[in-house]
């Protein structure tokens, strides 16, 4: 997500404003320390023009 944000040349604050969240929340999501709701995930995906897969998908570590 951080990569996608930097690609769009957005600061954490700017992205936060676009998705109606706080800068701290964006920072915590990027660090993997906060699990956003699907609603917020979608807002972030729309703002960064990416799919949910591209932003949040992780391979199963157990495989």
């Amino acid at each position: 997500m951080k990569l996608a944000r930097v690609e769009k040349d957005l600061s954490q604050q700017e992205l936060a404003d676009l998705v109606q969240a706080t800068r701290q929340t964006v920072g915590l999501i990027e660090k993997g320390k906060y699990n956003p709701t699907l609603k917020l995930c979608l807002r972030i995906a729309w703002a960064l023009e990416k799919t949910l897969d591209e932003l949040f998908w992780e391979e199963n570590k157990n495989d």
Partner: protein, 146 residues
């Protein structure tokens, strides 16, 4: 209003809700401790802290009612045995409180009160079951809506 004023997002709201619910539980425990303190340290009679008893009772009813209506507790998960235990718990607590409040030592007099308490508790349990049913119907309606 508060959400906008404090610029709260979903994470802030979640944290605020967690803090509020934990403080709510802490407040209930503090009231329980206060009742024990008044009973055993200050030697107060139950009728001297009737206000707290009313607050606690109303609190429990509202808590259960809201949990049942808004789906915090679902009817599917409520087993008949749990309802019966819940009912017995209400009757026992009600009897203890009544016996202490009116200083009833006579068994016959207590039985008379137990009948009244059991009837009131039956009405309350029935009311909770109705609320649970209405809550379930509300959720089902939301699911079926397009």
């Amino acid at each position: 209003m508060i959400k906008k004023k404090f610029n709260m997002d979903e994470r802030n709201i979640n944290i605020a809700r967690k803090v509020l619910s934990r403080l709510y539980i802490a407040t209930i425990w503090m009231i329980v401790v206060d009742i024990f303190y008044r009973t055993f340290a200050l030697r107060q009679r139950p009728d001297q802290y009737e206000d707290l008893a009313i607050i606690m009772t109303v609190n429990v009813f509202l808590l259960l009612g809201f949990l049942l209506y808004y789906g915090g507790l679902t009817l599917d998960k409520i087993k008949p045995l749990k309802v019966i235990l819940f009912y017995i718990g209400f009757v026992v607590l009600g009897t203890i409180f009544t016996a202490l409040k009116y200083r009833i030592t006579d068994f016959q007099a207590l039985i008379g009160k137990v009948v009244i308490i059991a009837s009131i508790c039956a009405i309350m349990v029935a009311l909770f079951l109705i609320i649970a049913y209405l809550g379930k119907r509300r959720v089902e309606k939301e699911i079926s809506e397009e």
